[in-house]
C-alpha cells in the first residue's frame, strides 16, 4: 500500500496546443505550450500557416507589379511596407522624387503607424480582458482609415506610393481632416490614460511581466518598440534617416525595464511622436508636382544588389533586392521584424503563467502573415 504512494507521477507536464484557431493568437499563430499546471515549461511557436510565397512572387513580377504584394505582408502597416519598397527601388534604380511627394508619403506613413499602434493598443487590452478600449481605439483608427481611403482608395492594403511619388495628390480637405484628427486624437489620450494606463489591474498585469533583456533582444534580433522598451534608442528613422525624417524634430521614446508595461508606454508615446512628425510635415509641405510619373514606365535597376532598411510599426524591416539587369528582380527577400520578435518568446515565456503568455504575446505585437509571407 505504501509503495503505491511512492510511485512517481509519470506525466506531470502536458502539452496545450494554443492556436492556430484561438481568439488571442492574432491571425494564425500556433504555439505549442508544455504546461506544468498553469506554468509554462516550454513554448514553441509554429509558423507557416499564412504562407503565400510573396518572395517567390517577387521574382516573377516586375518591380511595379510587386507593389500590391508589399502591403499584404504586414496588413496593419501596409502603407509603411509599400513606402519602404518604393524607397528601396528608387534608391536602386536612381529615380528622382519631387519634394511634395516626400512630404505626402511621410504624412501618410506616420498616419499608418498610428493606426497600427492603435489597433495593437485595442487588441492588447482585449487580451487582458478589457473589451471597451478596443472599440475606443477602433473608433479613432476609423478616422485614419477614412483619411487614407480618400487619398489612396483603399482602407487596409495601400498601394499609394509609386516609384517617383504618389499616385494621387492631396488637397486642402486632406490637410484639414488630418489636423482635426490630430486634435481629436490628442484629447483621447486623456481617456486612454484614465481607462487603461492608470488602471490598477492593468498595471498589475503588465509590470515586470515578460521582461526581454538586452542580451536576449540582441540574440533574437528583436527590433522596434520591443527593443526600445529595453532602453536602446534604435530607430531606423534616426539611425539611418531615410526619406526626409532627418528634417523633423521628434524623439525616440525608450523604456527602462523591457517589460510589457514599458512596451505599452513606448508605443503610446510613439503615437504622440508620429503626431509631431505629421504636424511638422503638414506645416512645411511644399507645392509642385506630386509624381515623377515618367520614371515609373521603365524601372530597370542596374546589375547588382541592394538592402534597404526602414522602420515599420513593428521594427526594422528591410528589402533585399538582387537585379540581373532585367525588369524582374532576380531575388526579392524581405527582412521582417516580427520573426525575431516572435521567437524571443521561447526564452521569455519559460516559467511564466498561461495567462501571462497571452499578455506577453499581445505585448510584443506580432503580425503572423508578415512572418509567413
Amino acid at each position: 500500500m505504501a509503495d503505491q504512494f511512492r510511485e512517481p507521477i509519470v506525466e506531470r507536464v502536458y502539452t496545450l496546443n494554443l492556436g492556430p484557431q484561438h481568439p488571442s493568437t492574432h491571425g494564425v499563430l500556433r504555439v505549442l505550450l508544455d504546461l506544468d499546471g498553469e506554468f509554462i515549461v516550454k513554448a514553441d511557436p509554429v509558423i507557416g500557416y499564412g504562407h503565400r510565397g510573396h518572395e517567390k512572387m517577387g521574382e516573377n513580377r516586375t518591380y511595379k507589379q510587386f507593389l500590391p504584394n508589399a502591403s499584404r505582408m504586414d496588413y496593419l502597416s501596409g502603407l509603411l511596407y509599400n513606402h519602404g519598397f518604393v524607397l528601396a527601388v528608387e534608391k536602386f534604380a536612381g529615380i528622382e522624387v519631387p519634394e511634395r511627394a516626400k512630404y505626402i508619403r511621410t504624412v501618410c506613413a506616420e498616419l499608418n503607424r498610428i493606426s497600427s499602434h492603435l489597433l495593437w493598443f485595442g487588441t492588447y487590452v482585449m487580451d487582458l480582458g478589457g473589451f471597451t478600449p478596443f472599440l475606443y481605439a477602433f473608433d479613432d483608427r476609423e478616422h485614419i482609415l477614412d483619411i487614407l481611403d480618400r487619398v489612396s482608395g483603399s482602407r487596409l492594403t495601400y498601394s499609394y506610393c509609386r516609384f517617383g511619388g504618389v499616385c494621387q495628390d492631396v488637397d486642402a480637405q486632406f490637410v484639414d481632416t488630418t489636423r482635426s484628427f490630430l486634435k481629436r486624437f490628442r484629447s483621447r489620450y486623456h481617456d486612454y490614460d484614465n481607462l487603461v494606463t492608470k488602471n490598477v489591474i492593468f498595471i498589475h498585469r503588465t509590470r515586470g511581466v515578460g521582461v526581454i533583456t538586452v542580451d536576449q533582444a540582441r540574440q533574437f534580433g528583436v527590433t522596434g518598440p520591443n527593443l526600445r522598451a529595453c532602453g536602446i534608442p534604435y530607430d531606423m528613422r534616426k539611425i539611418e534617416p531615410y526619406e526626409i525624417y532627418d528634417r523633423f524634430d521628434f524623439e525616440i521614446p525608450i523604456g527602462t525595464k523591457g517589460d510589457a508595461l514599458d512596451r505599452y508606454r513606448v508605443r503610446l508615446e510613439e503615437m504622440e511622436q508620429s503626431c509631431r512628425i505629421i504636424e511638422q510635415a503638414l506645416d512645411r509641405m511644399p507645392g509642385g508636382p506630386f509624381w515623377n510619373e515618367a520614371a515609373t514606365f521603365k524601372v530597370r535597376p542596374p546589375k547588382g544588389e541592394i538592402y534597404f532598411g526602414f522602420e515599420s510599426a513593428r521594427g526594422q524591416t528591410g528589402y533585399y533586392l538582387v537585379s540581373d539587369g532585367t525588369p524582374y528582380p532576380y531575388r526579392c527577400h524581405i527582412r521582417v521584424p516580427s520573426y525575431g520578435n516572435l521567437h524571443v518568446l521561447t526564452e521569455v515565456l519559460r516559467g511564466t503563467m498561461m495567462a501571462d503568455a497571452i499578455s506577453i504575446l499581445g505585448s510584443i505585437d506580432v503580425v503572423i502573415p508578415e512572418i509567413d509571407r
Binding site: Y14, P23, L195, A357
Partner: protein, 326 residues
Amino acid sequence: MGNTDGSDWVRLIVGLVIVLAFSQLNALFLVWLERKVAGHIQLRPGPKEVGPFGILQTIADGIKLVGKELISPAAADRKLFPIAPILVFMPVLVGFLVLPFSPDLIIRDMNVGVLLIFAFSTFSVLAILAGGWASNNKYALLGAVRSVAQNVAYEIPLLLAVLSVVLMVNSLQFSHIVEAQNRFWFIFVQPVAGIIYLICATAETNRAPFDIPEAESELVAGFHTEYSGMRFGLFFLAEYTNMFIVCAVATSLFFGGWNGPFGFDLNIPGVVWFLVKTYILIFIIMWVRWTFPRLRFDQLMNFSWKVMIPLSLANLMLTALVVKFV
C-alpha cells in the same frame, strides 16, 4: 418545513411556476440589458433591429440556440456531459424560494433562508467542475479547475461578510433581516461588509474582472468551451440568473430590501423598491465588467486570501464585540 397543509403546497407550486417564468424572462432581459449597456459604454448602439430597442433580440437568440444541434465531443463523458448544464441551472431556481420581494411576496420565509441560498449557490461550482471535466478538453478542464479554486477562495469572505449582518439581526430569516433595516440600511452600518460582499459576489458569478474560469482570451470559453446549443444556453442563463440572485441578496442584506431609504416609502410598493435596487446593483456589476481588464489567476487568489479574508474577519470580530458590549 414544519407543518405543511394544503394551502402551503398550492403556494409552493404556484411559486415555482412563477419563479420558472420570472427567472427565464429576467435572464433574457438581463442579456439584452448587458448588451445595451455594453453598447452604450463602447460608443455603439447595441442591439436595435429586432423589436423596439432590440428587446426581442435575446428571444431570437434563444430560439436560435434551441434550434442548434447539441454536439458532444467523441471523448466526452457520456453521462456527465449532458447533466452538467442541468445541474448548473437547478440550484439557481432554489434561490428564488426564499428571496423577499416584498412582505407578502416570499414563497417560503424560512428561518434558515440565508443559509439555504448560499448552500445552494455553492452547488453551481460542482456543475462547472462536472462540465469542465466531462468535456475532456484541456481548456475546459483548466477553466473548471480555476473556477473551483476561485469559488472556494471567495466564498469564505462572502460568508464572513454575510455573517456580520446575521450577527446584528440575530436571525437567518430574510424577512427579519429586511425589517431590521426599515430606518437605516445595513450598508451604512456595515460598509466594509457590504463592499466585500459585492466584490465577492462578482467573483462568485464569474463576472469580469474575475471571469478567470471563462477568460476568453486565454481559455477560449473556459469550462463551457465544448457546449453548444441550449446546453450552452443553460450555462448562459444560469450566469445571469445567478447575477440576479446575488444582487437580490445584496439588496435584502445591505440595501434595505423592500424598504425605502431612511424609512421614507413614498407610497411606492415594496416590490418596486426591491427590484429597482436589485437592477441598479446589476447595472453596476455590468458597468464594472465593461470597464476593467481581467486579473491574473494568482493575483486573484492573493487578493482573496491576503486582503479580503483578513478584512472580513476583522470586520466580523468588530461586529461581534460591538453586538456583545454595546
